[in-house]
Symmetry: C2
Subunit: 477 residues, 2 copies
């Protein structure tokens, strides 16, 4: 992949000094060793380069940085927890990195209005904890929650395992504070559920991956904290049966169904084989599994879950099932699921997809993609798993046993093309929840409505006329 946009010119000592004046000596990082952690990411897929990492401590400092960057046409890469999966947070071409992690204040929790106003650098898990302390739920939840930040979650419109009932990150933001490329501060902070005063600007910045402005704070929705959560691990024969179980569940408990994850047997096998302390929750093997969860404010979740599973067995859909007897068993079920990505590594090269299709099309998608991928690379091993309730499958493909990993990974785009063709035919998305970044930027024009791309370019030019905001991400500038 060609990720070089245009190499940024070296920063002059004067400019570095001017930036340092804004954030203070301590928070202008210029030492290569100190910069290094901001330039690599966990999987080692992307490596950036930069002379300067700025760690502003306030919205005003972010605004001053952007104003200066505009004056000298200096490119900026905003960064939260550095956990993104598409290279969006990496300075590929010598840009100045703005780490938002010091903007870590929770400005207000208004439990009676069910809102929480957080700065961009608040770690997701902290936001969850603070909401819980106020007897509320902040339902965004994903693997990286211990280090990803609210600003990054919103900039990438994160999904995760709670989206089925509570929506994606976009749906959790009532208000935003955004610093624009030229340093103007757009104040859309609001606790209002209903506000029809003019165009919706908030959603332009959510999911824009920092290419239109820098989110510095957000007012988030809180929800009543569930009193009871019940979790089941179910063995079944096919994605079609899992879809039927989803339908039964939704008709029986509607919004109380808060997670519904589909897991292929191979994905479960990898987790059990390579994860630490992971055991099979069921005594016999099945071709497919579902990890499902009900949340309720009352003490009825257990009965409801048992009724769903009983109906599933009666209909011949559910072959076996176990309900978590306690919190540690629940945690064990989720660990099996959460380790699924990591557990693919010991199996060699893995070509990843984060796709979505209409929920009803998931079984057909998996069948067609499996056939197409195995035809393209005989012996390759599809490892599909993910959020069936959202039509979002992490359709990963592990290399054939004993194959050369580099040779297999060299076919990344070939495999993508085969999978994406099926996705597009079904009205799906090539990036359900991870975004575009640089990883999928070159595919975007092929899969997106032409007029939509034209409008995106127009909006980019309007908000970032100099092309200094996270250049080369999402769109070629």
């Amino acid at each position: 992949m060609n990720i070089v946009q245009s190499a940024a010119p070296p920063l002059s000592p004067e400019w570095i000094a001017a930036f340092r004046d804004i954030v203070g000596d301590k928070y202008a990082v210029t030492d290569a060793a100190d910069i290094a952690p901001y330039l690599t990411e966990e999987r080692g897929l992307f490596h950036g380069r930069s002379q300067l990492v700025l760690r502003p401590g306030s919205t005003a400092e972010v605004a001053a940085i952007c104003k200066l960057a505009t004056a000298h046409k200096i490119a900026l890469v905003p960064q939260g927890g550095n956990t993104g999966l598409v290279g969006g947070q990496t300075a590929h071409n010598g840009e100045v990195v703005i780490s938002l992690r010091r903007l870590d204040k929770i400005r207000e929790i208004d439990a009676a209005s069910n809102t929480m106003t957080c700065e961009a650098g608040v770690v997701l898990q902290i936001a969850q904890q603070k909401a819980a302390e106020a007897d509320r739920l902040f339902p965004l939840s994903l693997g990286a929650e211990g280090s990803c930040t609210i600003g990054g979650n919103l900039s990438t419109n994160a999904g995760g395992t709670g989206a089925l009932a509570y929506g994606v990150a976009r749906e959790m933001a009532l208000g935003l504070e955004v610093v624009l490329a030229d340093g103007r501060v757009l104040n859309l902070l609001s606790k209002l559920k209903k506000d029809n005063t003019g165009y919706d600007l908030r959603n332009l910045f959510i999911g824009a991956e920092g290419t239109l402005g820098i989110i510095t704070a957000a007012t988030l929705k809180l929800f009543p904290k569930p009193r009871a959560i019940e979790t089941a691990y179910v063995g079944l024969k096919s994605p079609a049966d899992a879809l039927k179980l989803l339908s039964i569940s939704q008709s029986m408990v509607a919004g109380s169904l808060t997670s519904f994850e589909l897991l292929a047997d191979i994905a479960v096998d990898f987790s059990i084989r390579h994860g630490i302390d992971i055991r099979d929750p069921l005594t016999s093997k099945h071709l497919w599994y579902v990890l499902m969860e009900l949340s309720s404010s009352r003490d009825d979740a257990r009965d409801a879950l048992e009724a769903i599973l009983a109906k599933g067995m009666e209909d011949g859909i559910v072959d076996d099932a176990v309900i978590a007897a306690n919190l540690s068993q629940r945690a064990a079920f989720w660990k099996l699921r959460d380790e699924m990505s990591a557990a693919q590594k010991p199996e060699g090269g893995s070509i990843k997809h984060d796709i979505s299709v209409p929920v009803a099309a998931v079984p057909a998608f998996i069948a067609e993609a499996d056939a197409a991928v195995v035809k393209l690379i005989p012996g390759s091993r599809p490892v599909p798993f993910g959020h069936l309730g959202d039509g979002n499958i992490h359709y990963n493909v592990s290399q054939p046993i004993g194959a050369n990993t580099a040779d297999f990974l060299a076919r990344w785009h070939e495999v993508n093309a085969v999978v994406f063709a099926i996705v597009m035919r079904m009205g799906g998305s090539i990036s359900a929840e991870h975004g575009i970044g640089v990883l999928k930027r070159d595919e975007l024009p092929d899969v997106k409505d032409k007029v939509a791309i034209e409008l995106m370019r127009g909006i980019k030019a309007l908000l970032d006329p100099l092309g200094i905001m996270n250049p080369g991400k999402v769109l070629w500038s």
Copy 2:
């Protein structure tokens, strides 16, 4: 209010002929008597003028109309069910009206994916009915549902009584089809809950009141149809107690609480006095009332509602309450609520507000607004009612008994100013669910973030460079 932007020049016969060629003779309305219904609205507040109403039958025809309008710089006003409350759908200055009502096909219902794809002219009630026939719920619900259309609902981001649990119109649209000013068709139709491929363009058009493009179709979310709905009518002492009851309800049943309406005694009195066949559900009088509703997929709603009311009584919040014994009693409760706007008419002039504040601020807002309004116009009668669960109050003010109606209504903007000042101090919105149109356009710059207004103007110029799309609405062009 000055609603004249710049009078459109008369249409030449050639242009009229060219538009007629697009939609066909039958659907190019030029007779003044036939045009009249498109130029007036129910309350008689706005009267437009136009030489030509076009009734296209397809997206392609809408696109051809826009292309021609761009070529000759002819202004267009899109219109759905003509039920808007802020003059947004009215051709104030001789624009060509495009009525979308013939775009009335439901293109697809995909019950397994929980989606429905409707054209813009589908009447809301028809959409509700078709969803119900597929054993699903389309939860958008408002007074005008018998005549308003999906396109208008989305263009104004309608709210209504179901927003508490299901969200406003914006949150129900997964995908959109939009015709741009120059006739390009933007295809964002999608059944996907998760799609992070580029900027969110959909939300730009939702709530833009037809000023950025014309919504021609949408893919809407469907929900499981509730099996049980239980409705209570509650008498209590104050908005503060109503807020406590809301909090108790949400902690006990979370998302199962699907409506929570606060009604002042005077609003109830007006309904009973002036409505037809409306009776007081309770035997004694109270200062405030709550109309609340629980929906459930199971048979537990009745028990849950009783538990909430019992807790409310125990805490001294609920003074009296009655649960609807059957569907006709439920309908009677809602009729009392639904007649509330109409029932203000026989009481003389009424100065209307559709405001929202953070939910927790509603009691303080009502107290402060009451005091300020009565101080400004002694004897004036505030009639607050609305969606407490959303912080959205229809804060209407009836004239003093025996006062001159015209003199009272002449003070509309003075009263607005007093109320809006309190709203803004509390971080609220001057238009929670009705939009801006022309009615609140001149107030918008005073209440909206300056940078937001600048961005709105930039986006308007990008998408409608000639200023032909519903000119003079939302923004002065």
